[in-house]
Amino acid sequence: MRINPRKTQLMARIVIWSAAIIVLVILFSIIIYILSKGIPHITWQFLTQIPSDMGRSGGISSAIVGTLAVTLVAIVVATPFGVGTAFYLTEYTRESVITKIVRFSAESLAGIPSIVYGLFGFIFFVIYLKLGWSILSGGLTLAVMILPTIIRTSEEAIRTVPPMYREVSFSLGGTKWQTMIKILIPSALPGIATGIILGIGRCVAETAAVILTAGSALQMPTSLFSPARTMAVHFYILASEGISLEKAFATAALLIILILLINIGANMLVSRFVAKGH
């Protein structure tokens, strides 16, 4: 006996709405729980003092600086190399077995667990290159980690620029270089920017690869060679060792707010370009 399709429709609606509600409840319970427990402790002192007593008191200013420094190094290094590689692959080479292999490798490398990058960074940057636990070691490790992502998204963005744009530019007498600067980069910019912002998000959230390359020192870093803690690492240590629940929540809340801002910035950037152009 077939069930009335209207009944199955109703059942399906119930199940689907329930699933959506479950997801929303989980989502909000995590975010709101942490924000509600953490934001009250985000004071001006919290943002400007360095941690003391293993993080039980003081603030997290050194961790904030550490996060920014490590992310900055990673982006500054990875962006030109990533975007440049993407350009080379799409514009200067023909589609061949080699490019297919390169693309597949970039995909695979983008999916490798970050701990493997951490292991590589620890052995290579910290010990072998003798950079020690430092912002440089951490930043370079993160740069290598986000490089495949940037290459992939940039390549995707450049490839989806309609060939017509290039042809029009060439027919007007433009060289490959001029075409690239005046036409391709601007058109592909939203996609490239998305990749970079994805990379920034990953750097801010990363813990496993950072803890063993940038170290976990509490002091304010004074140079690229100083060890530094990032907020994610600081949160991990505070939370897993039960040092200070308050500060842990506050750090987590700050992290969530930061990621929220990054996401909003990304969306604004993309919608601005999409609205403007084609």
Binding site: G82, S105, P113, L119, I123, M180, A239
Partner: protein
């Protein structure tokens, strides 16, 4: 003259691309150079299927960790994918525009939250709940699965939703014209048509689950023994590396790189599967 002006940027890009690609190649080569000798020394079957991980005794069997990874990932898929699929259908088909415009960025935010935050949340809520109501120490495969299920939700939801939205409206209209209800349309027309995208999202979710380290270290218990039930503590391939990375040296360190090779191979297989799924459309 023009030709020469073209050569410079081409050369520049070539150097840039070469450096970037060689660094990426360096990592792969590095991992293999460090890891392969150990696999050769211990023996492939002893390494992959060995039951005992005891570096201080020179024993490097990663089977308990493979089982840990498989259990935890499987659990995450079983718990997470159905919910995620329903949610993506909700966003694509049932939600009023205002609601979906609110929910979508919220899910994006979920995707960006550091994994250690999830781990901590799991430590506070999930682990005690398991311990009090189901037994065992609470630090368990189940706890890991639940946390990972939550963590892969954004990935599966957003990509599946995109696949559903990308379908030509003609498909839906045709089904309605034939008298199908909304749900019948979804079940018989839309989901099968978006199959490759949905499959790709699931595979990407699996990839994320396999690669997760920090959240899992916090809730899994990290015992080296083979987990015999979902309430047992366990170790995954990633957490094994994470815990022992700091103090491993010599052979032990090589064993960790060898574990990295296994992870790399798993990811490559997953990637190939994802590309195959997408291409089959």
């Amino acid at each position: 003259m023009k030709k020469f002006g073209e050569r410079i940027p081409q050369g520049l890009f070539f150097i840039v691309a070469l450096s970037a690609l060689s660094v990426l190649a360096l990592i792969t080569v590095f991992i293999f150079i460090e890891g392969v000798p150990l696999i050769a020394k211990v023996g492939f079957f002893n390494f992959v299927f060995g039951m005992k991980w005891a570096p201080s005794l020179g024993q490097y069997g990663i089977f308990p960790m493979i089982v840990g990874t498989v259990f935890v990932t499987l659990g995450a898929i079983i718990l997470g994918v159905p919910v995620a699929l329903c949610c993506s259908i909700f966003l694509a088909e049932f939600a009023p525009k205002k609601l979906s415009n609110l929910v979508r960025p919220a899910i994006q935010l979920l995707a960006g939250i550091p994994s250690v935050v999830y781990g901590f949340w799991g430590l506070i809520f999930i682990v005690p709940a398991i311990r009090n109501y189901l037994g065992g120490p609470g630090l368990s495969v189940l706890a890991g699965s639940i946390i990972l299920a939550i963590m892969i939700l954004p990935t599966v939801i957003s990509i599946s939703e995109v696949s559903l939205l990308a379908l030509p409206p003609l498909l839906k209209e045709g089904a309605f014209a034939l008298g199908a209800t909304h749900w019948q349309t979804i079940r018989t027309v839309l989901i099968p048509s978006a199959k490759s995208g949905i499959l790709a999202s699931i595979i990407l979710g699996i990839g994320r689950a396999v690669g997760e380290t920090m959240a899992v270290i916090m809730v899994l218990g990290n015992a080296v023994a083979l987990p015999k039930s979902i309430l047992d503590p366990a170790r995954t391939l990633t957490t094994n590396i994470g815990i022992e990375m700091g103090y491993a040296s010599g052979e032990h360190q090589q064993a960790l790189f060898a574990t990295g090779i296994v992870l790399l191979v798993i990811i490559m297989i997953l990637n190939a599967a994802a590309q195959y799924a997408v291409r089959r459309k």
